[in-house]
Symmetry: C2
Subunit: 251 residues, 2 copies
Protein backbone atom coordinates (compact mmCIF):
# COMPACT_ATOMS: atom_id res chain seq x y z
CA UNK A 1 0.00 0.00 0.00
CA UNK A 2 2.38 2.65 -1.24
CA UNK A 3 6.09 3.41 -0.96
CA UNK A 4 7.82 3.21 2.42
CA UNK A 5 9.02 6.42 4.09
CA UNK A 6 11.22 4.51 6.52
CA UNK A 7 14.49 4.81 4.52
CA UNK A 8 14.09 8.61 4.29
CA UNK A 9 16.62 10.49 6.42
CA UNK A 10 16.26 14.20 7.15
CA UNK A 11 19.67 15.83 7.56
CA UNK A 12 19.94 19.35 8.99
CA UNK A 13 23.35 20.96 8.53
CA UNK A 14 24.39 23.23 11.43
CA UNK A 15 20.89 24.49 12.31
CA UNK A 16 20.84 27.75 14.30
CA UNK A 17 17.58 27.62 16.26
CA UNK A 18 16.30 24.88 18.55
CA UNK A 19 12.70 25.99 17.92
CA UNK A 20 13.07 25.33 14.20
CA UNK A 21 14.54 21.87 14.77
CA UNK A 22 11.73 21.03 17.19
CA UNK A 23 9.21 22.18 14.58
CA UNK A 24 10.99 19.97 12.03
CA UNK A 25 10.51 16.98 14.39
CA UNK A 26 6.80 17.72 14.62
CA UNK A 27 6.39 18.09 10.84
CA UNK A 28 8.33 14.85 10.31
CA UNK A 29 6.03 12.93 12.65
CA UNK A 30 2.94 14.52 11.06
CA UNK A 31 4.14 13.22 7.70
CA UNK A 32 5.42 9.78 8.67
CA UNK A 33 9.18 10.49 8.71
CA UNK A 34 11.30 9.41 11.68
CA UNK A 35 15.04 9.48 10.93
CA UNK A 36 16.59 12.82 11.93
CA UNK A 37 20.31 13.56 11.71
CA UNK A 38 22.13 16.77 12.57
CA UNK A 39 25.41 17.31 10.74
CA UNK A 40 28.08 19.63 12.09
CA UNK A 41 26.03 20.72 15.13
CA UNK A 42 26.77 24.11 16.67
CA UNK A 43 28.05 24.43 20.22
CA UNK A 44 25.40 26.97 21.18
CA UNK A 45 22.42 24.94 19.93
CA UNK A 46 19.38 25.35 22.21
CA UNK A 47 18.24 21.81 23.07
CA UNK A 48 15.55 23.09 25.42
CA UNK A 49 13.80 24.94 22.57
CA UNK A 50 14.05 21.88 20.33
CA UNK A 51 12.26 19.70 22.88
CA UNK A 52 9.64 22.38 23.56
CA UNK A 53 8.73 22.90 19.88
CA UNK A 54 8.72 19.19 19.06
CA UNK A 55 5.62 18.84 21.28
CA UNK A 56 4.33 15.28 20.83
CA UNK A 57 7.18 14.47 18.41
CA UNK A 58 9.68 14.33 21.28
CA UNK A 59 10.51 10.71 20.30
CA UNK A 60 12.00 11.91 17.01
CA UNK A 61 14.19 14.44 18.80
CA UNK A 62 15.29 11.82 21.35
CA UNK A 63 16.27 9.36 18.60
CA UNK A 64 18.19 11.86 16.48
CA UNK A 65 21.89 11.29 15.71
CA UNK A 66 24.72 13.75 15.18
CA UNK A 67 27.78 13.62 12.90
CA UNK A 68 30.71 16.02 12.66
CA UNK A 69 30.27 16.46 8.89
CA UNK A 70 27.60 16.12 6.20
CA UNK A 71 29.77 13.56 4.41
CA UNK A 72 29.60 11.28 7.46
CA UNK A 73 25.87 11.90 7.95
CA UNK A 74 25.07 10.61 4.48
CA UNK A 75 27.89 8.10 3.98
CA UNK A 76 25.50 5.12 3.64
CA UNK A 77 22.95 6.92 1.40
CA UNK A 78 22.84 6.22 -2.32
CA UNK A 79 20.65 9.19 -3.19
CA UNK A 80 21.01 12.61 -1.58
CA UNK A 81 18.74 15.58 -2.30
CA UNK A 82 19.72 19.10 -1.34
CA UNK A 83 17.38 22.06 -0.99
CA UNK A 84 18.24 25.51 -2.23
CA UNK A 85 16.33 28.76 -2.48
CA UNK A 86 19.13 30.66 -4.14
CA UNK A 87 20.15 31.00 -7.74
CA UNK A 88 23.73 30.76 -8.68
CA UNK A 89 26.59 28.53 -9.58
CA UNK A 90 25.95 24.79 -8.98
CA UNK A 91 22.30 25.55 -8.36
CA UNK A 92 20.90 25.65 -11.89
CA UNK A 93 19.45 22.20 -12.34
CA UNK A 94 16.62 21.76 -9.88
CA UNK A 95 13.18 20.28 -9.87
CA UNK A 96 10.14 21.14 -7.77
CA UNK A 97 9.24 19.06 -4.69
CA UNK A 98 6.28 17.65 -6.62
CA UNK A 99 8.42 16.41 -9.49
CA UNK A 100 11.01 15.15 -7.04
CA UNK A 101 8.94 13.16 -4.50
CA UNK A 102 7.99 10.04 -6.55
CA UNK A 103 11.52 9.74 -7.95
CA UNK A 104 13.07 10.11 -4.49
CA UNK A 105 10.77 7.40 -3.09
CA UNK A 106 11.72 5.01 -5.87
CA UNK A 107 15.36 5.48 -4.84
CA UNK A 108 14.30 4.92 -1.20
CA UNK A 109 13.01 1.48 -2.16
CA UNK A 110 16.66 0.46 -2.67
CA UNK A 111 18.07 1.74 0.64
CA UNK A 112 18.65 4.86 2.73
CA UNK A 113 18.19 8.23 1.03
CA UNK A 114 18.70 11.71 2.47
CA UNK A 115 16.97 15.06 2.25
CA UNK A 116 19.47 17.74 3.26
CA UNK A 117 18.72 21.27 4.47
CA UNK A 118 21.24 23.96 5.30
CA UNK A 119 21.47 26.49 8.12
CA UNK A 120 18.69 29.10 8.42
CA UNK A 121 20.87 32.06 7.45
CA UNK A 122 22.89 30.80 4.50
CA UNK A 123 21.50 27.51 3.27
CA UNK A 124 23.78 24.80 1.96
CA UNK A 125 27.37 25.69 1.04
CA UNK A 126 28.88 24.75 -2.30
CA UNK A 127 30.82 21.97 -0.54
CA UNK A 128 27.55 20.56 0.82
CA UNK A 129 25.81 20.86 -2.56
CA UNK A 130 28.65 18.90 -4.17
CA UNK A 131 27.66 15.90 -2.01
CA UNK A 132 24.07 15.97 -3.30
CA UNK A 133 22.93 13.86 -6.26
CA UNK A 134 19.82 15.96 -6.88
CA UNK A 135 18.60 19.42 -6.00
CA UNK A 136 15.14 20.81 -5.33
CA UNK A 137 13.75 24.29 -4.98
CA UNK A 138 10.40 25.07 -3.40
CA UNK A 139 8.40 27.48 -5.56
CA UNK A 140 8.01 30.85 -3.82
CA UNK A 141 7.47 34.51 -4.62
CA UNK A 142 10.27 36.79 -5.70
CA UNK A 143 9.07 39.20 -3.02
CA UNK A 144 10.04 36.75 -0.26
CA UNK A 145 11.63 33.54 -1.50
CA UNK A 146 13.17 32.49 1.82
CA UNK A 147 11.08 29.91 3.72
CA UNK A 148 11.37 29.14 7.40
CA UNK A 149 13.39 25.91 7.86
CA UNK A 150 10.50 23.90 9.28
CA UNK A 151 8.13 25.27 6.61
CA UNK A 152 10.51 24.12 3.88
CA UNK A 153 10.76 20.69 5.50
CA UNK A 154 6.97 20.53 5.84
CA UNK A 155 6.44 21.13 2.11
CA UNK A 156 8.95 18.41 1.17
CA UNK A 157 7.65 15.96 3.80
CA UNK A 158 4.06 16.62 2.72
CA UNK A 159 4.96 15.89 -0.92
CA UNK A 160 6.67 12.65 0.15
CA UNK A 161 3.69 11.64 2.28
CA UNK A 162 1.25 12.27 -0.56
CA UNK A 163 3.51 10.51 -3.09
CA UNK A 164 3.85 7.51 -0.76
CA UNK A 165 0.10 6.99 -0.92
CA UNK A 166 -0.04 6.82 2.88
CA UNK A 167 -2.49 9.73 2.99
CA UNK A 168 -5.02 7.87 0.86
CA UNK A 169 -5.86 5.31 3.53
CA UNK A 170 -6.57 8.00 6.08
CA UNK A 171 -9.46 9.38 4.05
CA UNK A 172 -12.75 8.00 5.21
CA UNK A 173 -15.07 6.70 2.51
CA UNK A 174 -18.32 8.62 2.32
CA UNK A 175 -20.32 6.52 -0.14
CA UNK A 176 -21.95 8.58 -2.85
CA UNK A 177 -25.63 7.98 -3.38
CA UNK A 178 -26.54 5.74 -6.30
CA UNK A 179 -28.70 6.98 -9.13
CA UNK A 180 -31.56 4.77 -7.90
CA UNK A 181 -31.44 6.45 -4.46
CA UNK A 182 -31.33 9.91 -6.02
CA UNK A 183 -34.31 9.15 -8.24
CA UNK A 184 -36.32 7.81 -5.30
CA UNK A 185 -35.54 11.04 -3.49
CA UNK A 186 -36.55 13.27 -6.41
CA UNK A 187 -39.83 11.33 -6.75
CA UNK A 188 -40.56 11.94 -3.05
CA UNK A 189 -39.68 15.62 -3.41
CA UNK A 190 -41.93 15.99 -6.42
CA UNK A 191 -44.85 14.52 -4.50
CA UNK A 192 -44.04 16.58 -1.43
CA UNK A 193 -43.73 19.89 -3.29
CA UNK A 194 -47.08 19.21 -4.96
CA UNK A 195 -48.81 18.14 -1.75
CA UNK A 196 -47.63 21.12 0.31
CA UNK A 197 -48.83 23.38 -2.51
CA UNK A 198 -45.39 24.73 -3.45
CA UNK A 199 -46.05 24.17 -7.18
CA UNK A 200 -48.88 23.45 -9.58
CA UNK A 201 -48.74 20.10 -11.38
CA UNK A 202 -48.26 21.78 -14.80
CA UNK A 203 -45.12 23.51 -13.47
CA UNK A 204 -43.81 20.39 -11.73
CA UNK A 205 -41.49 19.16 -14.49
CA UNK A 206 -39.91 22.56 -14.89
CA UNK A 207 -39.48 23.06 -11.14
CA UNK A 208 -38.04 19.58 -10.64
CA UNK A 209 -35.35 20.33 -13.21
CA UNK A 210 -34.36 23.31 -11.08
CA UNK A 211 -34.34 21.14 -7.95
CA UNK A 212 -32.13 18.60 -9.71
CA UNK A 213 -29.71 21.34 -10.65
CA UNK A 214 -29.55 22.60 -7.07
CA UNK A 215 -28.99 19.15 -5.58
CA UNK A 216 -26.39 18.25 -8.20
CA UNK A 217 -23.93 21.06 -7.50
CA UNK A 218 -21.95 18.61 -5.42
CA UNK A 219 -21.96 14.84 -5.03
CA UNK A 220 -24.76 13.74 -2.71
CA UNK A 221 -23.77 11.04 -0.24
CA UNK A 222 -26.07 8.26 0.92
CA UNK A 223 -26.49 10.11 4.20
CA UNK A 224 -27.43 13.31 2.35
CA UNK A 225 -30.08 11.50 0.33
CA UNK A 226 -31.51 9.81 3.41
CA UNK A 227 -31.86 13.21 5.06
CA UNK A 228 -33.52 14.72 2.00
CA UNK A 229 -35.86 11.75 1.74
CA UNK A 230 -36.82 12.31 5.37
CA UNK A 231 -37.59 15.99 4.70
CA UNK A 232 -39.91 15.12 1.80
CA UNK A 233 -41.60 12.34 3.75
CA UNK A 234 -42.29 14.61 6.68
CA UNK A 235 -43.56 17.37 4.41
CA UNK A 236 -46.02 14.95 2.82
CA UNK A 237 -47.16 13.69 6.23
CA UNK A 238 -47.62 17.26 7.37
CA UNK A 239 -49.60 18.16 4.25
CA UNK A 240 -52.10 15.39 5.01
CA UNK A 241 -52.20 15.33 8.81
CA UNK A 242 -51.10 18.84 9.82
CA UNK A 243 -48.02 19.70 11.88
CA UNK A 244 -47.98 16.83 14.38
CA UNK A 245 -45.24 14.34 15.39
CA UNK A 246 -43.58 12.56 12.47
CA UNK A 247 -44.28 8.92 11.59
CA UNK A 248 -41.71 6.66 13.23
CA UNK A 249 -40.56 4.90 10.09
CA UNK A 250 -41.30 3.69 6.56
CA UNK A 251 -41.57 5.71 3.40
Amino acid sequence: MGASLKPVRVVLVSPLYGGNVGSVCRAMMNMGLSDLVIAAPRDDFNTFDAVKWAYAARSIWDAHREYPTLAEAIADCHHVTGTSARDGLYRQVRCTPREWAPDFLSHAAAGPVALVMGPENNGLSNEDLALCTSLIRIPSTEAYPSLNLSHALMVCAYELYVASGAGDVAREAVPAATSEMRERMFAQWRSALLEIGFMESDKADHMMMAMRRIFSRGTLSEVDVRILLGVARQARWCATHGATPPPTNGE
Copy 2:
Protein backbone atom coordinates in the same frame (compact mmCIF):
# COMPACT_ATOMS: atom_id res chain seq x y z
CA MET B 1 -0.43 33.79 -16.61
CA GLY B 2 -2.31 31.73 -14.07
CA ALA B 3 -5.03 32.37 -11.52
CA SER B 4 -4.83 35.37 -9.21
CA LEU B 5 -4.15 34.85 -5.50
CA LYS B 6 -5.24 38.39 -4.66
CA PRO B 7 -8.87 37.55 -3.71
CA VAL B 8 -7.70 34.86 -1.26
CA ARG B 9 -8.24 35.85 2.38
CA VAL B 10 -6.64 33.92 5.23
CA VAL B 11 -8.85 34.03 8.33
CA LEU B 12 -7.47 32.89 11.69
CA VAL B 13 -10.12 32.38 14.36
CA SER B 14 -8.94 33.31 17.89
CA PRO B 15 -5.30 32.27 17.45
CA LEU B 16 -3.42 31.63 20.73
CA TYR B 17 0.23 32.33 19.92
CA GLY B 18 1.76 35.40 18.33
CA GLY B 19 4.67 33.35 17.02
CA ASN B 20 2.34 31.16 14.99
CA VAL B 21 0.55 34.14 13.50
CA GLY B 22 3.88 35.74 12.59
CA SER B 23 4.93 32.48 10.93
CA VAL B 24 1.63 32.47 9.04
CA CYS B 25 2.46 35.98 7.73
CA ARG B 26 5.83 34.74 6.49
CA ALA B 27 4.34 31.65 4.81
CA MET B 28 1.67 33.82 3.18
CA MET B 29 4.26 36.17 1.72
CA ASN B 30 6.42 33.22 0.57
CA MET B 31 3.40 31.91 -1.33
CA GLY B 32 1.97 35.13 -2.74
CA LEU B 33 -0.94 35.66 -0.32
CA SER B 34 -1.47 39.03 1.35
CA ASP B 35 -4.93 39.38 2.95
CA LEU B 36 -4.85 38.35 6.63
CA VAL B 37 -7.86 38.67 8.93
CA ILE B 38 -8.12 37.69 12.58
CA ALA B 39 -11.63 36.84 13.77
CA ALA B 40 -12.56 37.03 17.45
CA PRO B 41 -9.05 38.01 18.60
CA ARG B 42 -8.02 37.16 22.16
CA ASP B 43 -7.23 39.87 24.69
CA ASP B 44 -3.91 38.28 25.65
CA PHE B 45 -2.59 37.90 22.09
CA ASN B 46 1.17 38.55 21.91
CA THR B 47 1.65 41.15 19.18
CA PHE B 48 5.39 41.39 19.83
CA ASP B 49 5.86 37.68 18.98
CA ALA B 50 3.75 38.06 15.84
CA VAL B 51 5.97 40.87 14.54
CA LYS B 52 9.14 38.99 15.48
CA TRP B 53 8.20 35.75 13.70
CA ALA B 54 6.85 37.53 10.62
CA TYR B 55 10.45 38.58 9.80
CA ALA B 56 10.39 40.19 6.36
CA ALA B 57 6.61 39.67 6.10
CA ARG B 58 5.95 42.47 8.57
CA SER B 59 3.87 44.27 5.91
CA ILE B 60 1.28 41.49 6.00
CA TRP B 61 0.99 41.73 9.77
CA ASP B 62 0.72 45.53 9.61
CA ALA B 63 -2.08 45.35 7.03
CA HIS B 64 -4.13 42.70 8.84
CA ARG B 65 -7.69 43.42 9.92
CA GLU B 66 -9.70 42.17 12.89
CA TYR B 67 -13.41 41.36 13.27
CA PRO B 68 -15.34 40.39 16.40
CA THR B 69 -16.78 37.25 14.74
CA LEU B 70 -16.01 34.84 11.91
CA ALA B 71 -19.36 35.71 10.29
CA GLU B 72 -18.25 39.34 9.97
CA ALA B 73 -14.75 38.37 8.79
CA ILE B 74 -16.17 36.48 5.80
CA ALA B 75 -19.37 38.42 5.17
CA ASP B 76 -18.33 39.47 1.64
CA CYS B 77 -16.89 36.05 0.63
CA HIS B 78 -18.85 33.77 -1.68
CA HIS B 79 -16.74 30.69 -1.02
CA VAL B 80 -15.35 29.76 2.40
CA THR B 81 -13.11 26.77 3.09
CA GLY B 82 -12.58 25.47 6.60
CA THR B 83 -9.72 23.25 7.74
CA SER B 84 -10.21 20.36 10.11
CA ALA B 85 -7.95 17.59 11.40
CA ARG B 86 -10.62 15.86 13.42
CA ASP B 87 -13.19 13.31 12.44
CA GLY B 88 -16.74 13.67 13.60
CA LEU B 89 -20.13 15.14 12.92
CA TYR B 90 -20.17 17.81 10.20
CA ARG B 91 -16.63 16.84 9.26
CA GLN B 92 -17.26 13.88 6.96
CA VAL B 93 -17.11 15.40 3.54
CA ARG B 94 -13.63 16.74 2.97
CA CYS B 95 -11.17 16.88 0.17
CA THR B 96 -7.38 17.10 0.26
CA PRO B 97 -5.60 20.45 -0.26
CA ARG B 98 -4.47 19.20 -3.68
CA GLU B 99 -8.00 18.44 -4.86
CA TRP B 100 -9.24 21.68 -3.35
CA ALA B 101 -6.73 24.27 -4.62
CA PRO B 102 -7.75 24.52 -8.33
CA ASP B 103 -11.45 24.59 -7.43
CA PHE B 104 -10.89 27.27 -4.76
CA LEU B 105 -8.98 29.42 -7.24
CA SER B 106 -11.75 29.17 -9.81
CA HIS B 107 -14.12 30.54 -7.14
CA ALA B 108 -11.56 33.26 -6.39
CA ALA B 109 -11.84 34.45 -9.99
CA ALA B 110 -15.37 35.65 -9.14
CA GLY B 111 -14.55 37.59 -5.95
CA PRO B 112 -13.20 37.26 -2.41
CA VAL B 113 -12.83 33.76 -0.98
CA ALA B 114 -11.65 32.71 2.47
CA LEU B 115 -9.48 29.98 3.94
CA VAL B 116 -10.38 29.63 7.63
CA MET B 117 -8.26 28.07 10.38
CA GLY B 118 -9.26 27.60 13.99
CA PRO B 119 -7.37 28.10 17.25
CA GLU B 120 -4.28 25.93 17.89
CA ASN B 121 -5.82 23.88 20.68
CA ASN B 122 -9.31 23.04 19.43
CA GLY B 123 -9.60 23.90 15.75
CA LEU B 124 -12.83 25.25 14.31
CA SER B 125 -16.02 24.89 16.33
CA ASN B 126 -19.18 23.44 14.84
CA GLU B 127 -20.62 26.96 14.63
CA ASP B 128 -17.57 28.06 12.60
CA LEU B 129 -17.75 24.99 10.36
CA ALA B 130 -21.42 25.76 9.61
CA LEU B 131 -20.27 29.00 7.95
CA CYS B 132 -17.94 27.14 5.57
CA THR B 133 -19.00 26.05 2.09
CA SER B 134 -16.22 23.47 1.78
CA LEU B 135 -13.90 21.59 4.10
CA ILE B 136 -10.36 20.33 3.67
CA ARG B 137 -8.18 18.01 5.68
CA ILE B 138 -4.40 17.83 5.29
CA PRO B 139 -3.23 14.22 5.02
CA SER B 140 -1.20 13.22 8.09
CA THR B 141 -0.25 10.17 10.11
CA GLU B 142 -2.53 8.66 12.70
CA ALA B 143 0.43 8.76 15.09
CA TYR B 144 0.40 12.57 15.07
CA PRO B 145 -2.33 14.11 12.92
CA SER B 146 -2.20 17.59 14.49
CA LEU B 147 -0.17 20.08 12.46
CA ASN B 148 1.26 23.33 13.77
CA LEU B 149 -0.99 26.24 12.64
CA SER B 150 1.62 27.84 10.38
CA HIS B 151 2.58 24.43 8.93
CA ALA B 152 -1.05 23.77 8.02
CA LEU B 153 -1.30 27.20 6.43
CA MET B 154 1.96 26.58 4.56
CA VAL B 155 0.66 23.36 2.99
CA CYS B 156 -2.57 25.06 1.83
CA ALA B 157 -0.78 28.20 0.62
CA TYR B 158 1.80 26.09 -1.21
CA GLU B 159 -0.96 24.14 -2.97
CA LEU B 160 -2.63 27.41 -3.97
CA TYR B 161 0.64 28.87 -5.22
CA VAL B 162 1.38 25.78 -7.31
CA ALA B 163 -2.21 25.63 -8.63
CA SER B 164 -2.07 29.33 -9.57
CA GLY B 165 0.81 28.59 -11.90
CA ALA B 166 2.79 31.44 -10.32
CA GLY B 167 5.60 29.07 -9.38
CA ASP B 168 6.16 28.11 -13.00
CA VAL B 169 7.49 31.50 -14.01
CA ALA B 170 9.96 31.52 -11.13
CA ARG B 171 11.77 28.46 -12.48
CA GLU B 172 14.75 29.50 -14.48
CA ALA B 173 15.12 27.91 -17.86
CA VAL B 174 18.24 25.80 -18.13
CA PRO B 175 18.30 25.02 -21.85
CA ALA B 176 18.88 21.35 -22.50
CA ALA B 177 21.62 20.60 -25.00
CA THR B 178 20.44 19.81 -28.51
CA SER B 179 21.24 16.50 -30.13
CA GLU B 180 23.69 18.25 -32.46
CA MET B 181 25.62 19.64 -29.46
CA ARG B 182 25.65 16.26 -27.75
CA GLU B 183 26.94 14.52 -30.88
CA ARG B 184 29.69 17.11 -31.31
CA MET B 185 30.68 16.43 -27.70
CA PHE B 186 30.71 12.65 -28.12
CA ALA B 187 32.84 12.99 -31.25
CA GLN B 188 35.35 15.12 -29.30
CA TRP B 189 35.35 12.59 -26.45
CA ARG B 190 35.92 9.72 -28.83
CA SER B 191 38.92 11.46 -30.33
CA ALA B 192 40.21 12.46 -26.91
CA LEU B 193 39.88 8.99 -25.37
CA LEU B 194 41.76 7.55 -28.34
CA GLU B 195 44.48 10.20 -28.32
CA ILE B 196 45.19 9.95 -24.58
CA GLY B 197 45.42 6.18 -24.99
CA PHE B 198 42.40 5.34 -22.84
CA MET B 199 41.06 2.90 -25.45
CA GLU B 200 42.14 1.05 -28.60
CA SER B 201 40.33 2.00 -31.79
CA ASP B 202 38.72 -1.46 -32.12
CA LYS B 203 37.13 -0.99 -28.66
CA ALA B 204 36.06 2.61 -29.31
CA ASP B 205 32.50 1.92 -30.49
CA HIS B 206 31.80 -0.28 -27.49
CA MET B 207 33.33 2.18 -25.02
CA MET B 208 31.50 5.15 -26.51
CA MET B 209 28.17 3.35 -25.99
CA ALA B 210 29.09 3.11 -22.30
CA MET B 211 30.03 6.82 -22.23
CA ARG B 212 26.71 7.69 -23.85
CA ARG B 213 24.87 5.69 -21.20
CA ILE B 214 26.74 7.45 -18.39
CA PHE B 215 26.13 10.93 -19.79
CA SER B 216 22.47 10.20 -20.51
CA ARG B 217 21.39 9.35 -16.96
CA GLY B 218 20.12 12.89 -16.66
CA THR B 219 19.40 15.65 -19.14
CA LEU B 220 22.58 17.46 -20.13
CA SER B 221 22.25 21.22 -20.32
CA GLU B 222 24.05 23.42 -22.82
CA VAL B 223 26.42 24.47 -20.05
CA ASP B 224 27.13 20.82 -19.19
CA VAL B 225 27.97 20.03 -22.80
CA ARG B 226 30.20 23.07 -23.11
CA ILE B 227 32.14 21.91 -20.03
CA LEU B 228 32.46 18.36 -21.34
CA LEU B 229 33.60 19.68 -24.72
CA GLY B 230 36.25 21.68 -22.93
CA VAL B 231 37.48 18.60 -21.06
CA ALA B 232 37.88 16.63 -24.29
CA ARG B 233 39.52 19.53 -26.07
CA GLN B 234 42.06 19.98 -23.32
CA ALA B 235 42.74 16.23 -23.13
CA ARG B 236 43.48 16.19 -26.86
CA TRP B 237 45.75 19.22 -26.56
CA CYS B 238 47.57 17.59 -23.68
CA ALA B 239 47.99 14.34 -25.61
CA THR B 240 49.81 16.23 -28.37
CA HIS B 241 51.63 18.97 -26.49
CA GLY B 242 52.05 17.61 -22.97
CA ALA B 243 50.57 19.13 -19.82
CA THR B 244 50.99 22.84 -20.54
CA PRO B 245 48.54 25.80 -20.38
CA PRO B 246 45.30 25.23 -22.31
CA PRO B 247 44.56 26.89 -25.63
CA THR B 248 42.65 30.11 -25.09
CA ASN B 249 39.72 29.28 -27.36
CA GLY B 250 38.35 27.46 -30.39
CA GLU B 251 37.61 23.79 -30.76
